[in-house]
């Protein structure tokens, strides 16, 4: 599994959705699971795996899967 696949799977697991649904261009609003609990799960995943803590405006700016991927940078 390459790095990108691994990241997409982390997102799918956090949102508790089928991993086929998670592609970079996917609009998050289209996912039923993208509710406040879903957002919280993504914040948790980013904190745990990438030590990133999103601020309020960064949370609002999450529109597509690739917006989440931008925060998933290995340090």
């Amino acid at each position: 599994m390459n790095a990108m696949q691994k990241k997409l799977e982390l997102i799918a697991n956090a949102l508790d959705v089928d991993k086929d649904l998670i592609v970079p261009e996917k609009v998050l609003e289209e996912l039923e699971e993208w509710d406040s609990m879903g957002v919280i799960s993504i914040i948790s995943m980013l904190d745990k795996n990438y030590k990133v803590q999103l601020k309020a405006d960064q949370i609002k700016d999450l529109k597509t899967v690739s917006d989440i991927l931008e925060h998933m940078q290995e340090r």
Binding site: E32, D47, K55, I59
Partner: protein
């Protein structure tokens, strides 16, 4: 040097073994996940899913009881359980965000209900999840200056009165409850150094928008709206931006805990138990992982009471004492964080 140590130990042994005193009082009515799930009839909010996401199975909720009733219940239990003479109390500190009235002060009502001497000082202070830590800092100050000699510190909260029944984001989390603590001069050395913090820019993220002078209640503020997650509330109800509150917690708490250890000259391993504000299991587990605290030294106890706001820390300490997970002399790091934003932490020698 050896002799000196031996002497000190003898002195300590002669002192009676007394742990810090905590008593709790919860309203009788239960609100369990089964009941909530049946009302919502939404597969995303099934009984098991609510439990899995929050770690909460049931909450205790008020029907007609007021914050003063819960406060009196907790204080009376404290007097009974520890054989305390109410005439010894000369200061009452009460923390709440759901007071009986704008005025008078709820602590004054409680003074009368408890038949405390009229020579008792009494004040309310308005804080949420950080309230217990702030209460201890105030108590330590009052005791140290001699302004008070025996303080009754009460956390009493009925957030469910602020909650719209169809707002899943808050109804699944919060419960009502009260806790009472007694603090006298003997307790000053048991309370460590504090790390406190405030960031009022977070005010809009956990708020009851109407009812104060900024926006008095009216027909308009009572109008219900449905948000994108299907939660219904009006401006008279509590609003919580869950993702932002969660993110704030991850930003603020780990740093506060590290600074609290530093300020108290303690290493993480020297803490016998970490008792954080019991927000919900999900937040607590995230913080525990982040701080790399072993499970057996990190107390989580939300299953039967939910998040009782300022009362969670003293309720959790009392439960941990009853379960003998902590005992006299245990070093307990407590940390409160939430509405305001406001946060605070210290170390207690129970």
């Amino acid at each position: 040097m050896k002799q000196k140590n031996g002497h000190a130990r003898k002195l300590i042994l002669r002192k009676p073994v007394i742990v810090m005193k905590f008593s709790c009082f919860l309203p009788l009515a239960h609100l369990d996940n089964e009941h909530i799930a049946a009302e919502y009839n939404d597969p995303k909010w099934s009984e098991s899913k609510i439990y899995r996401k929050t770690g909460i199975r049931s909450r205790r909720v008020v029907k007609d009881e007021l914050v003063s009733d819960l406060a009196v219940g907790a204080a009376k239990r404290l007097f009974d359980e520890y054989g305390i003479d109410r005439n010894s109390i000369d200061f009452l500190l009460l923390c709440t965000q759901s007071p009986d009235y704008f005025l008078p002060t709820t602590a004054c009502i409680v003074q009368h209900s408890l038949d405390l001497p009229t020579s008792t000082g009494a004040i309310d202070f308005n804080l949420g999840c950080s309230g217990f830590v702030y209460g201890l800092s105030l108590a330590q100050g009052l005791l140290s200056t001699g302004a008070a000699s025996t303080i009754l510190l009460i956390m009493s909260e009925t957030y469910t009165r602020h909650i719209h029944p169809m707002d899943k984001s808050t109804r699944t989390i919060f419960g009502d409850g009260a806790a009472a603590t007694l603090l006298d001069k003997e307790d000053i050395p048991r309370i460590g150094r504090f790390v406190l913090g405030t960031d009022g820019s977070g005010a809009p993220n956990l708020i009851v928008p109407s009812g104060g002078m900024a926006r008095p209640r009216s027909v308009d503020t009572a109008k219900e709206t449905t948000d994108e997650d299907g939660n219904i509330r009006s401006m008279d109800n509590i609003y919580m931006n869950g993702p932002e509150i969660f993110s704030f917690t991850l930003r603020a708490v780990p740093d506060m805990v590290r600074r609290t250890l530093e300020r108290n000259d303690l290493s993480s391993e020297e803490i016998d138990m970490y008792v954080f504000h019991q927000a919900n299991r999900f937040i607590l587990e995230n913080l525990r992982d982040r701080l790399e605290i072993p499970e057996d030294r990190f107390y989580i106890d939300v299953e039967e009471t939910g998040n009782t706001v300022s009362a969670t820390i003293p309720i959790a300490i009392r439960n941990a004492l009853d379960k003998e997970l902590i005992q006299e002399g245990s070093k307990v790091l407590i940390a409160g964080f939430g509405v305001g934003y406001s946060w605070g932490a210290t170390v207690l020698r129970i």
